[in-house]
C-alpha cells in the first residue's frame, strides 16, 4: 500500500498496466516526455520508450481514429484527450466508429481501447477547461463510461477499463487530481466496472453522485448528520454505462428519499436518467419527489465558477428538502 493522490494513482495504474502487457500504449497531446499537462503519463516515455508513450499531432480526431485502428489490430491503446472540452472533434470517431464497430461488423472488428480525459470544474478553467460531458457519451450504445472519485478506484477502475473488451471513456475528475489522497495497493488489482461504491451508510436519504461531487456530497452528508441527525446513504456510481441499475434501485428503496448530484447541466443530464429509473421502477417506495443538484443550464463560467458548481450548501439544502417533504 502507498498513500497517493488521484493523479499519482492514474500514473501508477498506467505503469502497472504497461509493465504487464507490451500491447498497451499511451499517447495524446503532450503525453510523451512532458508527461501530460497534469503529469498523468510522467515517466512513461523514459520507462517504455517513445514507441509506447508518445506525443501525437494536435488532432483529437486523429488520436481517437488511430487508436481505433490500433485496437482492432491487436494493440490496447490508452489515448489521452487533454481536456474533455476538446473531445468534440473526436465525437464522430467515438460515437460513430469506436462505439459501433463491434455491432456493425457482427463482432469481426472490435475496439478495445481506453480514452482518458480530465473533466469538470474547479480549476478556474472557464468554458473550455471545465465541462462535464458524460451525458453525451452515456447516451451512446457501445461505449462504457467510467468516473473514479478516489485514488484506489482510479487505479483499479483504470486497470479494469484497460482489460475490458469494449471501448471505455475514462473521465478523471481533475478537481480531485491532487485534492484527495488515499491508500492504493501496489501492482495489479481491478475494481469491477458496473459496480457501485457505498461511500456512507444511512437510512434517511439516498444521494447518488460520482467523480468530483463525491467529496462535496460526503461533506454535506456529515453536516446533515451533525445539524439535523439525518443519516444519508451516499452512493458513488463509478460506472455510468453500463449502470448497475439493480444497485441503484436497491439504494433508493432503502430510504425512499433521493437526491442526485452532478456538476454537469441539469437538462437531459445523468440525474434525469436516475430519476426516471426510480420513477419507472420503484415509485411506490418513494416518500418525496427526487431532487437534483446540478450545474446550471448555462455554459461554464470562469470567475463565478464556485457559484456554478454544486457545493455542500446546495446539497444540504436538497437533503433537507427531501427529508422534510
Amino acid at each position: 500500500m502507498a498513500n497517493m493522490t488521484l493523479i499519482q494513482a492514474v500514473n501508477d495504474g498506467l505503469k502497472t498496466a504497461m509493465r504487464g502487457d507490451e500491447s498497451i500504449l499511451c499517447f495524446g497531446e503532450d503525453v510523451g516526455p512532458k508527461g501530460g499537462v497534469f503529469l498523468a503519463t510522467e515517466g512513461l516515455t523514459t520507462e517504455f520508450g517513445k514507441e509506447r508513450c508518445f506525443d501525437t499531432p494536435l488532432s483529437e480526431d486523429g488520436i481517437i481514429g488511430t487508436a481505433i485502428g490500433m485496437a482492432m489490430n491487436g494493440l490496447r491503446p490508452v489515448a489521452e484527450i487533454q481536456f474533455q472540452d476538446f473531445i468534440f472533434p473526436a465525437f464522430d470517431q467515438i460515437v460513430s466508429e469506436a462505439a459501433k464497430l463491434r455491432y456493425r461488423s457482427g463482432g469481426q472488428y472490435t475496439a478495445p481501447m481506453v480514452i482518458r480525459t480530465p473533466y469538470g470544474g474547479g480549476i478556474r478553467g472557464g468554458l473550455y477547461h471545465s465541462q462535464s460531458g458524460e451525458a453525451y457519451f452515456a447516451h451512446t450504445a457501445g461505449l462504457k463510461v467510467v468516473i473514479p472519485s478516489t485514488p484506489h478506484d482510479a487505479k483499479g477502475l483504470l486497470l479494469a477499463s484497460i482489460q475490458d473488451p469494449d471501448p471505455v471513456l475514462f473521465m478523471e475528475p481533475k478537481a480531485l487530481y491532487r485534492a484527495v489522497k488515499g491508500e492504493v495497493p501496489e501492482g495489479e488489482y481491478t475494481v469491477d466496472l458496473s459496480t457501485l461504491r457505498t461511500v456512507r451508510e444511512g437510512r434517511d436519504v439516498t444521494i447518488y453522485c460520482y467523480g468530483a461531487m463525491v467529496p462535496v456530497v460526503e461533506k454535506a452528508a456529515a453536516q446533515a448528520k451533525e445539524q439535523r441527525d439525518i443519516d444519508c446513504l451516499v452512493v458513488d456510481l463509478r460506472t455510468l454505462m453500463p449502470l448497475d441499475e439493480e444497485g441503484v434501485l436497491e439504494a433508493a428503496k432503502q430510504t425512499g428519499r433521493v437526491v442526485v448530484v452532478h456538476e454537469a447541466p441539469r437538462f437531459c443530464g445523468y440525474g434525469a436518467e436516475i430519476s426516471a429509473l426510480i420513477a419507472e421502477n420503484c415509485i411506490e417506495y418513494m416518500e418525496a419527489p427526487v431532487k437534483r443538484v446540478t450545474g446550471f443550464d448555462t455554459p461554464f463560467p470562469n470567475t463565478l465558477e464556485h457559484h456554478y458548481l454544486p457545493d455542500d450548501r446546495r446539497v444540504l439544502d436538497a437533503i433537507e428538502a427531501v427529508y422534510d417533504f
Binding site: 488511430t66 494493440l75 457482427g106 469481426q108 448497475d244
Partner: protein
C-alpha cells in the same frame, strides 16, 4: 494537372516489354473480376428496382481502379474500403454469396442485417474492413492499424480507399498527417471519380488535383489513369514496396469517372452533363483491358461469351441463395453492442421478445439470447 501515369493505351497496347508482373491466369482473373463487378451492378440494380433489396451502389467506370489496386495487395495486407470497392473484395476471393447476404441483410450477413446494403465486413480471405457511412472516418483507422503492424515488425501494408469528396473530411487531414509523421505503412488511394454524390471536383477543392495535397504532409504522391488497370497496379505496387521497406505512406490519385448515379437512390442526369458521360464512355476501363488481352492473345469472343455467362450466373445464383436465407433473429438487435449483453439491454430485448410472442408475430431466430 500533374503528369498522369498511363500504361495501357486506348487501343490496348503497352510499351514494348512492359511487364505487369501477372501471369496469363492472373490477367484473366483481373478481367473476370471486372466482369463480376459489372454483373453484380446489373443484378443489384434489378433487385433494387423490383423492391427486393433496399439500396445499392453502382461501380461502373471504376472497375480498373478497384481491381488494379487490389491486385497489388497481398492476402496478409488489410484493405480499408470505401462503399464503392466491390472489385477489391471480389478480386481477393470474398464470395459473391457472402456479399449478397449483406445486400439482403439476412441471418448469414457478417453484419447480421444491422447495416444498409454495401456495408461489407470481412476478415477472410483478406481483411476487408467494416464499412461505415460517414465519410473519411476510416483513414485514421488504417493509420492506427498500420502503426500496430509496424510496431510488431510485420511487413503488412494497409490500403485505404476513399473518393474525391473524402479529401475534404476531417479524417483525411488527420489520417494523412499522422501517417506521414509516423511513417506508417499505408497506401492512401483517392478515387477521383468526378463527383461526390453531386458535387463536382471544382467545387470540392481549389487545388490542382488531389494528389498534390500530399506535399503539404511531406508525403510522396502519384496521379494515375484510373481507367488503366496497370497504371493503378503499378502505382499501388510501388507504394506498397516503399511501405514494406519502412519508408512510409503514399497518396495515389486515380482519375476515373463514375458512369452512373452515386447510388440507386440518385439520378445523375440532374447534375452530370451528358457530354461527360459520352466522353468517359469511350474510355471504358473494362473495354480497354479487353483490348490489351486481345492483343496478347488471351481474349476472343468465345472467352468473352463464356465469362459473361459464368459471371452473371454466379452473381444471379448468389442473389437467389441470399434472398432465400432467413432474416436475422430478433436477438441480433441486442447482441454485439458490448462483448457481454448488459442488464438494461437484456431487459429491453426480453421486452421485445415477449411483446412479439404475445401478439403472435412470427420472428426468425426465436428471440432468445445465444448465451
Amino acid at each position: 494537372m500533374t503528369d498522369m501515369l498511363t500504361v495501357i493505351r486506348p487501343d490496348g497496347a503497352t510499351k514494348k516489354g512492359y511487364d505487369a508482373g501477372l501471369s496469363d491466369d492472373g490477367l484473366l482473373h483481373c478481367y473476370r473480376t471486372m466482369l463480376l463487378v459489372r454483373s453484380f451492378d446489373e443484378i443489384c440494380l434489378k433487385l433494387q428496382r423490383a423492391g427486393r433489396i433496399g439500396f445499392s451502389i453502382p461501380n461502373r467506370g471504376i472497375e480498373a481502379t478497384q481491381v488494379g489496386a487490389a491486385s497489388a495487395m497481398r492476402k496478409t495486407d488489410w484493405i480499408f474500403p470505401s462503399y464503392r470497392d466491390f472489385g477489391m473484395a471480389l478480386y481477393h476471393g470474398i464470395s459473391p454469396v457472402d456479399m449478397m447476404h449483406n445486400m439482403f441483410g439476412n441471418a448469414e450477413d457478417s453484419a447480421k442485417g444491422r447495416q444498409m446494403p454495401v456495408h461489407f465486413s470481412f476478415t477472410e480471405p483478406i481483411h476487408f474492413y467494416s464499412i461505415s457511412s460517414p465519410i473519411g472516418t476510416h483513414l485514421p483507422h488504417a493509420v492506427g492499424a498500420a502503426y500496430a503492424s509496424k510496431l510488431r515488425g510485420e511487413d503488412t501494408v494497409h490500403l485505404v480507399s476513399f473518393g474525391d469528396g473524402g479529401t475534404s473530411s476531417l479524417g483525411f487531414h488527420s489520417g494523412m498527417n499522422f501517417a506521414a509523421v509516423w511513417k506508417a505503412p499505408v497506401v492512401f488511394l483517392c478515387q477521383n471519380n468526378g463527383y461526390a454524390i453531386s458535387c463536382p471536383s471544382d467545387e470540392q477543392t481549389a487545388s490542382d488535383g488531389y494528389a498534390v495535397k500530399a506535399e503539404a504532409y511531406g508525403m510522396p504522391h502519384a496521379t494515375v489513369d484510373g481507367n488503366d488497370l496497370f497504371a493503378v497496379r503499378q502505382a499501388v505496387s510501388e507504394a506498397t514496396e516503399r511501405a514494406r521497406k519502412g519508408e512510409g505512406p503514399t497518396l495515389i490519385e486515380a482519375v476515373t469517372f463514375r458512369m452512373g448515379g452515386h447510388s440507386t437512390s440518385d439520378d445523375p442526369s440532374r447534375y452530370v452533363p451528358k457530354e461527360l458521360f459520352d466522353e468517359w464512355e469511350k474510355k471504358d476501363p473494362v473495354e480497354r483491358f479487353r483490348r490489351f488481352l486481345e492483343k496478347k492473345g488471351l481474349w476472343n469472343q468465345t472467352v468473352e461469351d463464356t465469362m459473361r455467362k459464368e459471371t452473371l450466373a454466379e452473381i444471379d445464383s448468389a442473389a437467389k441463395i441470399a434472398e432465400k436465407t432467413d432474416k436475422p433473429g430478433l436477438e441480433t438487435i441486442f447482441s454485439d453492442v458490448f462483448a457481454e449483453v448488459p442488464g438494461h439491454i437484456r431487459r429491453q430485448g426480453e421486452f421485445l421478445f415477449d411483446l412479439v410472442k404475445r401478439r403472435g408475430e412470427a420472428s426468425a431466430g426465436g428471440g432468445e439470447f445465444p448465451l
